[in-house]
Amino acid sequence: MSKRGRRSVWAYRALLRLLPQRIQQEDGAEMVLAFKDLIDEARGPLHRLALTIYASARLLGVAAAEWRDLFRRSPSTSGSRIDSLRADVGFFLRSLRRDKGLAAMVVVITSLGVGATATVFSVIHVLAFKPPALR
């Protein structure tokens, strides 16, 4: 194999690290062998470059898909937490729609809370962190 061919295989092998570890261990070596065979049979440097770009781009897509699958299957994210958060937000929005008085109160309390916090922070900021430019 030519020096450039070896460089292509090296780059492909480096990109394999983007895959989840289990897949790297299971199929990484076989994927490199298949890629090496593809590069060996390339018809010239341009074809080799095109194959490298094509296979690398596909590998990036597969890595993203594998991580997405892994994240979806993960017990910490797939079950209780996300579902619970979704249920809470849904309940909150339905409550606001059902009770206009409650909705108004939530808006007023939130506005007062944000306003009060901003005011207190402004005063502390001027007094403690940025005193007025007076002697």
Binding site: I23, D27, E30, M31, L33, A34, L38, G61
Partner: protein, 93 residues
């Protein structure tokens, strides 16, 4: 297509890439990453069986009886689809 080429005999990854490219009129080129992603799924579903070919130093895949049944069912489905579509196309032409 992968199952179809495996129905002719055991193949390793690059063998499948070449066999699929040779069969498809538009010259479909499977890339290793997608090929092995599909192979992982097929292995999990019990359609194919991997084993190490020590002489070649590679993993070789063979079709399981279940995989063969899937190929057969898919061919039957496609043939039925063609049989339904053909009379309409012929009468239109």
């Amino acid at each position: 297509m992968i199952l179809a080429v495996l129905s002719e005999g055991p193949l390793h990854g690059y063998g499948m890439i070449k066999a699929v490219a040779a069969r498809s009129p538009s010259g479909v080129l499977l890339d290793p990453a997608n090929l092995y992603r599909v192979l992982r799924r097929m292995r999990e579903d019990g359609w194919i069986d991997p084993h190490e070919d020590k002489e070649a130093g590679r993993r070789v895949y063979t079709l399981t009886p279940r995989g063969r049944a899937v190929v057969s069912a898919e061919l039957t489905r496609l043939e039925a689809l063609l049989a339904q579509a053909r009379p309409g196309m012929e009468s239109a032409g």
